[in-house]
Symmetry: C2
Subunit: 294 residues, 2 copies
């Protein structure tokens, strides 16, 4: 069976991120060899590049060229990778494996993993400073990315605070909105900015769509943890419940959570349909992300 349009797009995204990251790291000439290795190890790890995909698709939807989104997409992925490296550290989730490979601090050591995460964050902003975009657009993307990086850390903190204590649906939503939603919204917004979009109406619509998509993605993730297939999900089913983690099914029940995921998906598509943009790839990505692994 030939690859679908979406598969072609995702292949192109993954190839672009790989190439952009590689030439960017080469040009950065990191003075410490092991730090350079740890930085590359953390980025070239078979990641799905979902956030870059949203950035490229958003840029194309608003009439931008593929290359316009190269640096913004790279910057977003570097922030995402840094957050994974730091999240895996012993003082956080203390994970030994990511995508079946040793986590950065297991492969190197804790100090190098800490510094690799720090370096990736600095490099993300550097990529935007050097992006071949009009300076005002570079500054606008930096504002969006810095806001998202800050909110992500705040969401991570709220998530840690909530461990082992009962939380409300509002609190759970607020955690996800910051912890994962912020970077998803930023990916879409930065793609549009890279295409030169600056009108508040389009950016607000993208933010609403991004919020719905991020939330739907998370609810679906929680649902899959209960009903999913351990093989396709890449983690063991029921892990959330065993860890006593608050999830949508644990708070509102499985049937209601499935209904919520369905409703958010529909609302996200409706928001896309109202946009004055060529959103067909964003539509396909939405279906792919929310319906994945069913």
């Amino acid at each position: 069976m030939p690859p679908t349009e979406l598969e072609f797009f995702m292949q192109r995204v993954r190839k672009s991120v790989q190439q952009q990251a590689d030439s960017f790291f080469n040009a950065q000439h990191l003075a410490a060899v092991n730090l350079d290795q740890a930085v590359r190890y953390s980025v070239f790890n078979g990641g799905k590049r979902i956030r870059p995909a949203l950035c490229y698709a958003s840029c194309l939807a608003f009439g931008g060229h593929w290359q316009h989104a190269d640096m913004p997409a790279l910057a977003i992925e570097l922030i995402h990778c840094y957050s994974l490296v730091h999240d895996d550290l012993p003082c956080m989730d203390d994970d030994d494996l990511r995508r079946g490979q040793p986590t950065c601090h297991r492969q190197f050591n804790e100090a190098i993993a800490l510094l690799a995460g720090d370096t990736l964050q600095a490099m993300a902003f550097h990529a935007l400073a050097l992006a071949p975009l009009e300076v005002s657009l570079r500054v606008a993307t930096m504002d969006v990315l810095a806001t998202a990086a800050r909110d992500m850390a705040a969401g991570q903190t709220l998530d840690l605070d909530a461990e082992g204590t009962p939380i409300t649906l509002e609190q759970l939503e607020s955690i996800h909105r910051l912890k994962t939603g912020a970077l998803i919204r930023a990916s879409l917004e930065m793609g549009a900015l890279a295409a030169g979009v600056t009108d508040p109406k389009s950016l607000a619509s993208l933010q609403r769509y991004g919020s719905l998509l991020g939330l739907a993605f998370q609810v679906q993730d929680d649902v899959l943890d209960v009903i999913g297939n351990a093989h396709t999900l890449g983690k063991s089913v029921g892990a959330d419940e065993r860890m006593g983690k608050a999830t949508y099914p644990s708070i509102m029940g499985l049937a209601q959570a499935q209904q919520l995921s369905h409703d958010l998906h529909a609302q996200a598509l409706t928001e896309l349909h109202t946009m004055e943009a060529d959103t067909q790839m964003l539509l396909q990505l939405t279906d792919y992300l929310i319906s994945r692994d069913r």
Copy 2:
């Protein structure tokens, strides 16, 4: 005795950083209360604000207004503070005290300290994105700061790598040039950029001066560790030797190290005298930083 011109200047710098940081943190509305507390704890800790002072002095030297340097100076200090918080973590220097107070991870916990450092770095770039400077100057300061943040992490890595192994003078210099020199050079360069300076000659001269100042500062720090007064230095004399740390006196001998500090000081002043700028405050700062606590 009335305060000297330098003391007045340093008081103004400290007050500015305090005020700018406070209003910036208020405007950021960090969603996690304990993260907000940890961020403020790490910045409002009685720091000397040496890097902001260099940034303001450089901006004024090239005819800029004080306010032009507000956000660049704040951004530099946020990067400096994040690096201290992460350096103090158990996987790095494992320090319990900083300036006589519990380090961030001792006051809060390791996870919060990690996230506070991460947040401070994101906020540094955010401060520059929001700076009331022409967009091209904002981008230029971001490029300089991101480069320095990257080099600082690389220097930290080289420093860790060198622990317990004999290193050459060239290696020691390379570590310091990255670990502490990069941010000192960036402070000067960002101050000049904030004043609107973009000619490569002035920026190159500032970089040379910054390199000499950073190195002189470090050599002097090492010398003071051998001959200094524990009270004025704020740490115990001989600490470097007890920890087996490579220093200028340990590699080249005390007398030679004192001579090197003196020579670098003189060279830094010469470089300042050749600049087409009103460098009198930078001259005073140079004397203060290199001759401090003798």
